[in-house]
């Protein structure tokens, strides 16, 4: 097993707004001493409490934010000092809030073309755009639309298409299927599974939907309050949760009335 992406004692704290005149500005420890190794070709799930630091961790792994302490390693070398151009080609992201991460002044086509152009991805760009749009189940008629002219789930799929377009080695996806109906969601999960199985894509999937993690990810980490509360094989963690929070999480998964 080759480790492709690694967090070493990663911490991030934020200064908080004052709660009144003359009061101290407290710090929020959004992430505390997190160690994490992601193997090449693995599908790792991250679940956890809302506000536990999942998005913060993702931004640090992507080099979009600077840790307060600790560091990120990519292909066994510290990320700081690496050729960021190559890193961007290899590591792509789907952000949690698709609307604010898509350029409002660009058409769908140009949103997907941008990384192809900026990262000098070889091959026919238009053909690749059609290919990824089709792969995420979007009609090619949408290519001239702007992001605000799409539905929430269509925007989410444009974000996935953009991330996949440059053939990344690692995809970090923050709640990528939360706005999709179950039929489309299953297609996207199948697409991501196929890319890791057939093309060796490494996937880090952040989701509140435990059934999505169960279906797709062999390994899982459970976060609470800026730390990893529990980690292991998804099957073990979901079947024999050790940490109180994991137990609560699994017990709270909503069930269908006809099925429970």
């Amino acid at each position: 097993m080759t480790v492709i992406l690694e967090a070493v004692k990663l911490s991030r704290s934020f200064r908080l707004p004052r709660t009144g005149f003359g009061k101290e500005r407290a710090m929020r420890l959004a992430l505390v001493d997190v160690d994490l190794q992601v193997n090449q070709g693995a599908r790792l799930g991250i679940v956890g409490e809302s506000g536990s630091g999942k998005t913060t961790l993702a931004r640090l792994l992507l080099g979009l934010d600077t840790p307060t302490a600790g560091f990120v390693k990519f292909r066994n070398e510290p990320l700081v000092g690496q050729d960021m151009y190559q890193f961007r080609r290899d590591v792509q992201v789907v952000f949690q809030d698709p609307r604010s991460s898509l350029n409002p002044r660009m058409s769908v086509e140009n949103i997907i073309r941008e990384p192809l152009e900026c990262l000098n991805v070889p091959g026919d760009q238009t053909a690749r755009i059609d290919e990824v749009l089709t792969a995420v189940g979007l009609s090619l008629d949408l290519r001239h639309r702007f992001a605000h002219e799409l539905s929430g789930g269509q925007r989410q799929r444009v974000a996935i298409a953009r991330a996949l377009a440059p053939h990344p080695k690692v995809l970090i996806a923050d709640e990528p299927v939360s706005a999709l109906d179950v039929l489309v969601r299953d297609e996207i999960l199948g697409l991501l599974a196929g890319l890791t199985d057939n093309l060796g894509l490494t996937l880090i999937l952040i989701s509140h939907d435990l059934s999505v993690i169960a279906r797709l990810c062999e390994d899982v980490v459970v976060m609470q309050n800026g730390v990893i509360a529990e980690r292991g094989k998804t099957a073990d963690v979901f079947q024999f949760p050790q940490h109180e929070f994991t137990k609560k999480l699994i017990a709270a998964v909503p069930r269908l009335p006809s099925n429970s």
Partner: protein, 267 residues
């Protein structure tokens, strides 16, 4: 009838995105809307609160408490919006003002519609943050949207929508960014508030287990149409439309396979 939607049709140029949709919501009633991504759920909701983009062409009728909303001017609509109809938007970040502390944003409808002072409004804002389960509300109200996590922002959206105890609450995917333990609390809170205030609820979601626990009747949308509208029990027991059947079947399979996974009986 609190809300009567008749033959609602929404077009962008020559494309029809909502096609002749009709439904009612009685006072205190809860309607779920599920269906295909891109089928018109959000646009139907936005039409009800009069927030469709200007380029949209709308026809048909939307009556709220007997008053026709499609004829109203912007100013008249905004006095209904927030006060009588509250909405939780699908993408919380875009619905919030990035330059204003979130406490002020929660207090705004209270100040506009109930004439509260800023100080009173802020006090209510902190209380509302507490009610939607936000930890450390004193600090949260002083934060800007980008300083909050996805789930924290979503709960701010809910606090804004609930601020004036609206007669109709429209919640468009209100819990997608919440972990299931917080989701459970927030749904319970919505449930309690809706029952206490006797508010009606339109709950839009892809999460069928959640919709079935929150609503009594469900409309299934596909390609701009309501293809089926039935009680939750009838829909899950025997859906009649092919698309609804497929949607429900897929949700049931996913529910079953997760149950097997957690009990170790997965094949």
């Amino acid at each position: 009838m609190l809300l009567e939607v008749r033959n609602l049709t929404i077009r962008f140029g020559s494309t029809t995105v909502v096609d002749d949709v009709s439904f009612d919501v009685d006072a205190g009633e809860r309607l779920g809307i599920i269906g295909e991504s891109g089928s018109g759920k959000t646009l139907t909701s936005l039409a009800v609160i009069g927030l469709l983009p200007d380029v949209a062409n709308i026809s048909g009728s939307i009556k709220f408490n007997g008053q026709e909303l499609t004829d109203l001017k912007d100013r008249e609509l905004s006095s209904i919006r927030g006060k009588h109809i509250g909405m939780v938007f699908q993408e919380p970040l875009t619905a919030l003002n990035p330059l204003m502390r979130v406490g002020k944003q929660i207090a705004q409808p209270l100040r506009n519609h109930q004439g509260m002072s800023l100080k009173e409004g802020m006090k209510r804002a902190i209380a509302l943050c507490e009610r939607v389960g936000l930890p450390d509300p004193d600090r949260i109200v002083r934060s800007f949207p980008h300083q909050l996590s996805g789930g924290q922002r979503q709960r701010i959206g809910l606090a804004i929508a609930l601020a004036c105890s609206p007669a109709l609450l429209i919640a468009d995917e209100p819990t997608t960014a919440l972990d299931v333990t917080v989701q459970k609390e927030v749904l319970k809170l919505m449930n309690d508030l809706v029952s206490q205030e006797g508010s009606a609820l339109i709950f839009v979601s892809h999460d069928l287990p959640v919709v079935s626990s929150m609503t009594e009747r469900v409309a299934v949308m596909q390609h701009g149409n309501i293809v089926e509208l039935a009680s939750v029990d009838a829909l899950f027991a025997n859906a009649t439309n092919d698309y609804s059947k497929m949607l429900i079947r897929t949700a049931q399979l996913s529910d079953d396979s997760f149950a097997r996974f957690t009990t170790g009986s997965a094949q």
